[in-house]
């Protein structure tokens, strides 16, 4: 059971420069989303969300059927589907294939699933040159960091950070202009695209009825990664499945708008197998690596299964006041923000990071913007209930458990409640009505200490409402 990373959180919250970077980037994404959603009108956008939710629900509840259909159609187009139960199965297949085919350089476009299985680390260990080609991911690869955000992986980096990084790692003059920085990356990456033997992409959607992998992006790097090299691999969690090509329109409408405030991203690419006879470009071989890596565990629970509907738009991160304070790297896994808080415990087990589902004020901003209507606060509550039970089985969290048992006992006994609160009030130090800045050491128990570390504390009222109410009714009786 990992404890709350208190010091790392304090460091992030106390870092003014980082806070400005996170806050301004997410604020910009919030504004852009709002401007893209508003023209739809509230009702129409809600209708799209409901449709998307219904399609995902149907797809996830009929997963076996649609995955088989997908495999059939991918195979018919000359591709190969590789089923991987675990991360290491996926990694072994990809590294094995790369070695077998004599691959020396790989270009990759942005994929959270490959981050999830630590693919780059494994490929590098095999002495294969693997290059991230999404600008944000490329920056992070140079900085040797994991993504800070699902959609905007280098969200925490300012252009000054990037200037330092590029001049240090790429032996170029320090350049603070974003456009020129992009040109530097483009120059380096173009050469990599042209000399790569293998292209690896993720997948935004897997269309069962046509066997196509859909990629949504803005930089054109996913299209290049999937067309220039002679071998092509798409890596995807199986939950990316949608039943029909005609369902895609709904998702494209909501994904761009929710993620970056775009009606449609710049590129929407459809990968459907290798080059066919007579075609002049496209890869010679095409593989779709379908990853489970814990996903099937989520299917069992009717209430929490909706966690698999996620289309990785990142809107819940941008709108989450907790993410915006602690940032992406304080979450225990590559998936950060509210969606990370609900999927990580379900993948890794409830007791690995039992604090994570509690790192939320349950404000509900995430659920309000989720394009596929995942009820994130409800899943958080369910996870918390599961965690208290798991902790009890493991003999942990005894004090908190006793505390809530006492709470429940007292709250079901009004007289005891009144006696206890009157006693607490009578012995509470400090002047009535005057908020406290500190308390004597003996009262500095964790909850009070936590409160007082940030803000002043109101003392109990001299007389509770119920006491005042009784007096009031008595006076009225007399009058």
């Amino acid at each position: 059971m990992n404890p709350i990373p208190v010091e790392a959180i304090q460091k992030a919250v106390g870092d003014a420069r980082l806070q400005t970077a996170i806050y301004s980037s997410t604020a910009r994404l919030i504004d852009k989303r709002r401007n893209a959603v508003d023209p739809f009108g509230w009702d129409e956008f809600q209708e799209l969300r409901s449709q998307a939710n219904a399609v995902k629900k149907h797809a996830i509840e009929n997963l076996d059927h649609y995955l088989e259909l997908l495999e059939k159609n991918v195979t018919a187009r000359g591709g190969k589907v590789i089923w991987c139960r675990t991360a290491s199965e996926a990694v072994q297949f990809i590294t094995g294939l790369a070695k077998e085919k004599g691959v020396r350089r790989i270009v990759k476009s942005k994929s959270m699933t490959t981050e999830e299985i630590d693919l780059n680390e494994h490929l590098e260990r095999e002495q294969i040159d693997v290059v991230e080609t999404d600008l944000g991911e490329y920056i992070l690869q140079l900085a040797k960091e994991k993504p800070y955000h699902i959609v905007a992986p280098a969200l925490h980096k300012t252009r000054y950070d990037v200037a330092d990084l590029f001049s240090d790692k790429l032996a170029v003059d320090r350049e603070e202009d974003i456009e020129r920085q992009t040109q530097i990356a483009r120059r380096v990456l173009r050469e990599k695209f042209l000399t790569a033997d293998l292209g690896i992409t993720g997948a935004n959607f897997l269309i069962a009825d046509s066997g196509a992998v859909v990629l949504v992006e803005n930089e054109g790097n996913a299209r290049l990664s999937s067309s220039a090299p002679r071998i092509q691999i798409a890596v995807a969690g199986f939950e990316k499945i949608i039943p029909r090509a005609q369902d895609l329109a709904t998702f494209l409408k909501i994904l761009g708008r929710s993620a970056t405030g775009q009606p449609l991203t710049v590129y929407t690419s459809f990968l459907s197998g290798p080059r066919r006879p007579g075609e002049i470009d496209g890869p010679e071989e095409f593989y779709l690596v379908l990853v489970d890596n814990g996903r099937s565990k989520l299917l069992a629970d009717e209430n929490k299964r909706q966690s698999l509907y996620c289309i990785r738009c990142g809107a819940c991160l941008n709108h989450c006041p907790v993410y915006r304070k602690i940032g992406g790297h304080n979450y225990p896994w590559v998936y950060s923000g509210p969606i990370g808080a609900i999927i990580s415990p379900q993948f890794h087990g409830l007791t690995r990071d039992p604090w994570l589902p509690y790192a939320s004020s349950l404000c509900g901003a995430c659920a309000e913007v989720c394009p596929v209507k995942i009820d994130i606060p409800k899943v958080l509550l369910e996870l918390r209930a599961g965690i208290t039970q798991a902790k009890q089985r493991e003999g942990a969290g005894a004090w908190e458990r006793r505390g809530f048992r006492l709470f429940s006992f007292v709250m079901q006994r009004p007289r005891l409640y009144e006696f206890a609160t009157t006693m607490a009030s009578a012995f509470f130090p400090g002047e009535r009505g005057k908020w406290l800045r500190t308390l004597p050491a003996i009262l500095q128990l964790p909850p009070l200490r936590g409160w007082l570390s940030q803000r002043d504390l109101p003392p109990p009222a001299e007389e509770s409402f119920r006491a005042q109410w009784r007096n009031r009714q008595r006076m009225r009786g007399r009058a």
Binding site: S360, S361, S408, F409, W451, D456
Partner: protein, 241 residues
């Protein structure tokens, strides 16, 4: 139509902000309602529910249902506690048909204070006077679970002498979140500071909300920062003459 209402003041108003409960009673009595305070009420059980102790929460919820069984209308001094009994009791007792029936009967009778005024009493102007510039803080559960957004603003707009100045982030969480505020004090405190900065920018002298727990968080932060702002429950504003 019944003119009998039962107050559910919530434990935080009972213990820390009793004047809020009295203000609600004053406003309702001013409208001709017969206000009762069922003395056996305690808490809605939300702290236990939110912390994952559902069995403990169930006991408190049962006590709540017993306490308010005979009430025609229940008027609650908090959006968050209203959402607890109006939405989450059903989660607690899911699968228990007998309890769910009691819960659904309760759901139809429990109202957050501002909603009761607008939808049951059907009044907007309570004849209040409050000569200050205020800003309104949307508490998360009222906003997102109960859909309360325009109502409190409409009530404030009828208060004589009052000017409402909106924050740029009125809908952003204050960071309270119950035990979240003490489990993650740095994050909770940081969220409160962001919110208070936004309040200060409006130039308002008072921040108004329908949840005393948010106001406790904000007031504690305001005092720590030494700012001249005040927090007020909507009922206190509406009871001002």
């Amino acid at each position: 139509m019944s003119k009998r209402v039962s107050l559910f003041v919530t434990c935080i108003v009972d213990q820390v902000f009793p004047h809020v409960g009295l203000a609600i009673a004053d406003v309702l009595e001013g409208l001709g309602y017969q206000v009762e305070f069922p003395q056996s009420q305690t808490c809605c059980g939300q702290p236990a529910f939110n912390s994952g102790f559902w069995e403990d929460a169930k006991g408190v919820a049962r006590h709540f249902l017993d306490t308010f069984e005979g009430s025609d209308y229940i008027v609650a001094a908090s959006g968050s506690c209203t959402a607890m009994c109006g939405h989450h009791f059903a989660d607690l007792f899911s699968g228990d048909a007998a309890m769910l029936e009691r819960v659904h009967r309760l759901e139809a009778r429990v109202f957050e204070f501002s909603r009761f005024l607008l939808e049951v009493a059907k009044v907007e102007d309570l004849g209040a006077r409050f000569e200050h510039t205020v800003t309104y803080h949307d508490s998360c559960h009222a906003l997102r679970e109960l859909g309360i957004k325009a109502g409190p603003r409409r009530l404030l707009s009828k208060v004589k002498g009052l000017t409402l100045k909106e924050m740029d982030i009125a809908e952003e969480c204050c960071g309270f979140g119950g035990t979240f505020s003490v489990k993650f004090p740095d994050v909770s405190g940081g969220m409160a500071k962001t919110k208070v900065d936004s309040i200060v920018k409006t130039g308002a002298t008072h921040v108004v909300s329908i949840d005393s727990s948010c106001l406790m968080q904000l007031q504690g932060t305001i005092l720590r920062a030494g700012l001249p702002l005040k927090t007020m429950h909507l009922a206190e504003v509406l009871a001002s003459k």
